[in-house]
Amino acid sequence: MPTPARRIGDVILSLDRISLAFGGVKALTDITFDVREHEVRAIIGPNGAGKSSMLNVINGVYRPQQGTITYRGKQRHGMDSHAVAEAGIARTFQNIALFRGMSVLDNIMTGRNLKVRTSFVEQAIWWRRARREELENRAKVEEVIDFLEIQHIRKTPVGRLPYGLQKRVELARALAAEPSLLLLDEPMAGMNVEEKQDMCRFVLDVNEQYGTTIVLIEHDMGVVMDISDRVVVLDYGRKIGDGTPDEVRGNQAVIDAYLGVAH
């Protein structure tokens, strides 16, 4: 295990007293935590604790009723998804959200969407600048493909791939955008041990090689404790624990939430 202290920088994302409700259902109540540059930050909690809602708030899909989000010095209440992507935040989804009709390559190319600078007229007439740009984007995509070891399925329509590989393609699409902050919603859900080990390795490699900050939701406690620098624990939309894996493991509220407690 690498020692986390070596690389972690300043706080780049901080969430301050976030509350989110859908009608009468309170998904998140008064949640405050931060994410430091280059760290692997895990969000854990039992089902329905509000983990995915939390990611959706960071990602701009949901707009919290209260609280502020500060990302790289810019404060906001909520943001649209387009602006979030522009700011260098990419994500994967709990239930795979890929473009099923397209090949693996095309799917990952969509991750380069915001890197395209030439106009569509230039692209349509196959202008030199547009062609060069397409080649550059393609080169970057190939790099990601090599990195995640999915060369052999490049041309396969994603709908035909097994689940574990689809998850990997989704990660590839997120990486193609060269994000500075990567949000992973249960990247290892439904995988067998071997696939999980591969995914862990990729997540850590991304973090180390590209210095990408990672916020991940995961249910497998072994994985979470192994790869994360700090863990935040949610239960019924409230924060009940925050700290290093060891601290969280010893936290009585967390143990109660997971194992149940006699009232």
Binding site: F93, A97, N113, R173
Partner: protein, 298 residues
């Protein structure tokens, strides 16, 4: 032989006109998964507005064209905003029903604005055979048909390039597959839909002008939708090349069947043979020639 060729060419050329209508469907279906039943009404609305502007207000042909185009794009944008956007994430059948309602609304609107009298539409191209072809090979090919085919061909090539080569094209395909994922890579959903409906309005205008010039501009123009259906079934709902090939096959088959099979069953085949072909085709290849084969893992 020359008679066979004349029938075949006539069929292929009229098939291109079907393709043009089918194209409007494909565009919307590709980008939003909505089967837009109102496409026929949009074709009618475009044609009657174009003619109306000229006849009622005495506006010049070349001025009426951009004005109608603007009206169609605005109509497309309005449909997107007022009808489809509130229905985001609803099942496809709901969206389909909404477009049926929409088609009645547009037809009513067109009659309210321009009245219900049929009008002629003049493009300045004669519906007469080329003389040199007639003299040399004894084949009659209508000048108007060739003109319409060329216009449609150019339009198709432009759209194909737009979809295949540009970032917007890739974004369109992405949006059709998964809204959430598209948002996460920074594709602006609403902007993409606005573009699609704008382009669909433009295609409706071209189709409306050509069909209007051929058959006159009347309420029956909305029924060209029905002719686009077999074309779509043959070509596949998601495919621009499919709309073209499907159109050519249906056009040629209609005319050839009418001429060579018609006499045995008392004629009048042209009106329905396309649907029979489509039905047979559904049995063999339900996704169409160029459509995407959907494989579901269960």
């Amino acid at each position: 032989m020359s008679f066979f060729l004349e029938v075949l060419i006539g069929g292929l050329l009229s098939g291109v006109m079907y393709s043009l209508v089918a194209l409007g469907f494909v565009l919307i279906f590709k980008a939003s998964g909505v089967f837009n039943f109102a496409q026929g009404a949009m074709v009618f609305f475009a044609a009657i507005t174009f003619v109306g502007l000229q006849k009622e207000y005495g506006i010049d042909f070349w001025l009426a064209l951009p004005l109608t185009l603007a009206a169609m794009v605005v109509l497309g944008l309005l449909i997107e905003r007022v009808v489809l956007r509130p229905l985001v994430n609803q099942p496809q059948i709901t969206l389909f029903m909404a477009t049926i309602g929409l088609s009645f609304f547009i037809e009513g609107l067109a009659q309210m604005l321009w009245g219900s009298t049929p009008r002629g539409l003049e493009l300045g191209i004669q519906d007469q055979p080329f003389e040199w072809l007639m003299n040399r090979f004894n084949i009659g090919v209508s000048q108007f048909d060739v003109f319409a085919a060329v216009v449609s061909g150019v339009l198709v090539v432009l759209l194909a390039i737009f979809f295949q080569r540009t970032r917007i094209g890739r974004a369109l395909r992405a949006v059709a597959d998964d809204h959430q994922a598209a948002l996460s890579v920074g594709i602006p959903l609403q902007q993409i839909w606005a573009i699609v409906w704008g382009v669909a309005g433009f295609v409706a205008l071209v189709a409306g002008m050509l069909w209007g010039a051929r058959n006159g501009v009347s309420f029956s123009l909305t029924f060209v939708v029905l002719k686009a259906l077999p074309v779509l079934i043959l070509g596949g709902f998601e495919s621009i090349p499919g709309a073209i090939v499907g159109g050519l096959i249906i056009g040629a088959a209609e005319k050839l069947c009418e001429v060579y099979l018609g006499p045995y069953v008392g004629g009048g085949i042209e009106g329905w043979v396309a649907y029979v072909i489509a039905l047979l085709f559904l049995l063999v290849r339900p996704e169409g020639l160029f459509g995407e084969k959907h494989i579901d893992r269960v």
